[in-house]
């Protein structure tokens, strides 16, 4: 396998795609939002429960997708617990930079933590949407938006 592919399909990503964390529904009062990639038919439903301080008390997801999209949602839900809405937004921006431009500052890499394994996605422009769909959907869930999120 060539180097770019190895960067894309890192062990962590394969492992999360096979055994996704937080892969279940959350009951009310958790909010949810639906994400959909019409190009490939991937779907994701992200659940989020905010506490009184407007921090993520719990977050989970369900759906079907490729290894990149499943692993991305899995790692995202791991890292998001306890984050405020603002922190979530900042992470989203750093993550987006990482997967689209392949660049992140040292501070951003620190903040991204395990999410940094998705850096290889930037070499595969057709796969960026796979990695970011769950993030767009999480934002919608936190904001309480009803309309489904699509990548197109």
């Amino acid at each position: 396998m060539n180097e770019e592919l190895r960067d894309l399909y890192q062990e962590v990503i394969i492992e999360h795609s096979k055994r996704p964390r937080n892969f279940h529904a959350l009951a009310a009062p958790a909010r949810s939002a639906d994400g959909y990639n019409p190009l490939c038919g991937d779907t994701v439903k992200v659940y989020v429960e905010m506490d009184d301080d407007h921090k993520v008390a719990d977050v989970s997801f369900e759906g079907s997708g490729c290894a990149i999209s499943t692993a991305s949602a899995s790692v995202m839900t791991e890292i998001m617990k306890g984050k405020s809405a603002d922190e979530a937004e900042a992470l989203f921006n750093s993550f987006h930079e990482l997967v689209t431009r392949g660049e992140a500052s040292d501070d951003e890499i620190d903040a991204l933590g395990k999410l940094a394994v998705f850096g290889g996605v930037s070499e595969f422009p057709t796969r960026v949407k796979c990695a970011t769909l769950c993030w767009h959907t999480l934002r919608a869930a936190i904001a309480g938006e009803d309309a489904p999120i699509t990548t197109e």
Binding site: M1, N2, E4, L5, L8, Y9, I14, K18, L39, C40, G41, D42, T43, S64, G65, C66, A67, I68, S69, T70, F124, T126, R127, C130
Partner: protein, 420 residues
Amino acid sequence: MTATATLAKPEPATTGFDPEALRADFPALHQEIHGHPLTFLDNAASSQRPNAVIDEIARFDRNDYANIHRGVHELSQRATKAYEGARDKIRQYINARDRKEIIFVRGTTEAINLVASSFVRPSLNLGDEIALTTMEHHSNIVPWQMACRERGAVVRVAPINDRGELELEELEKLLTPRTKLLTLVHVSNALGTINPVKEIVAMAHERGIPVLLDGAQAIPHMRVDMQDLDCDFYAFSSHKMFGPTGVGVLYGKKELLEAMAPYQGGGDMISVVTFEKTFYAGLPAKFEAGTPNITGGVGLGAAIDYLEQLDWDGAVAHENELLRYGTERLSEIPEVRLIGTANRKASVLSFVVDGVHPHDIGTILDREGVAVRAGHHCAQPVMQRFSVPATTRASLAFYNTKEDVDALIRALRKTIEVFK
């Protein structure tokens, strides 16, 4: 039989079909992708073009291009001759009775929308039905849903079996006095199934029901004969038959086309315009409003010239052998499940792999130089029928070889290894 007679009528030589020689005609096939020779197996999405098409388009644009019809100058006359010449080639190629039955459109999608707008919609009433099948492309579902919603009519869907074959008895039950049109795919893009369309057309005609065939995936794999099929409409796209994009054909029986209202209004589709009344042009101009894709039409004509000289018996036998070989090789991989195993199939291999999503397969195959398509192939009801979100589809053309199939299998085994 005497020895003399045998000598006088020798057995025909075995077909001289040589895919390697044909590959030389397709320049795009000869390149490296990510350090591997290109293995192009995405022909059902769009096929590559031979030099004959590429060169004719360049020649036409360099020498003969101008707007067609009504121009008195030399270039306009040359362009008109080339464009209308392409119409004649198409008529002959698909054995239509009359050149007026060949309507240039943007592609299969527009052809179907034209029939929906001009043939079906005006007479579609509350409770009427449009019959189609589970294996339709979205372009042969959505226009009918739109028309039916507007007119209070209903889309009825004929089921397919686990091999991806149409259940003919169920289809027959759908054909009732309420059925305004039967519309179905000749060859399924997602499954490869070849439908017995001649038999189906006859079945519908016995009940007085007109039939539209979506031939987009059939025409690159076989010769089609309009008079033999006896369908009322047949739609296909240039870019899937080795021609350029942006042009396609609606074939329609002349008496039906003549009775239909125009599809779009504009230039070229009129005979006399005043603010009180407009008289429409005759066929085929009535359905060709506006300046068409002139170069595209000429390019399609060149593609047809190329296909006219193809050894079709040899090509069909070669593709059948590739299909047999590909099916056999894929079946050797325990993780692979073929979606679409009809008895009569075009060279399309749609499959799912245990534990690996088609999108990931597509990415890894690409890095091995193998171009396939991963997704729902604009046929989501087919995916739902087989309870899969998507498939990986390797779709072959006559210029593919067993080496291409081998490259697919090698890359696929690597992919499965990554996810072990």
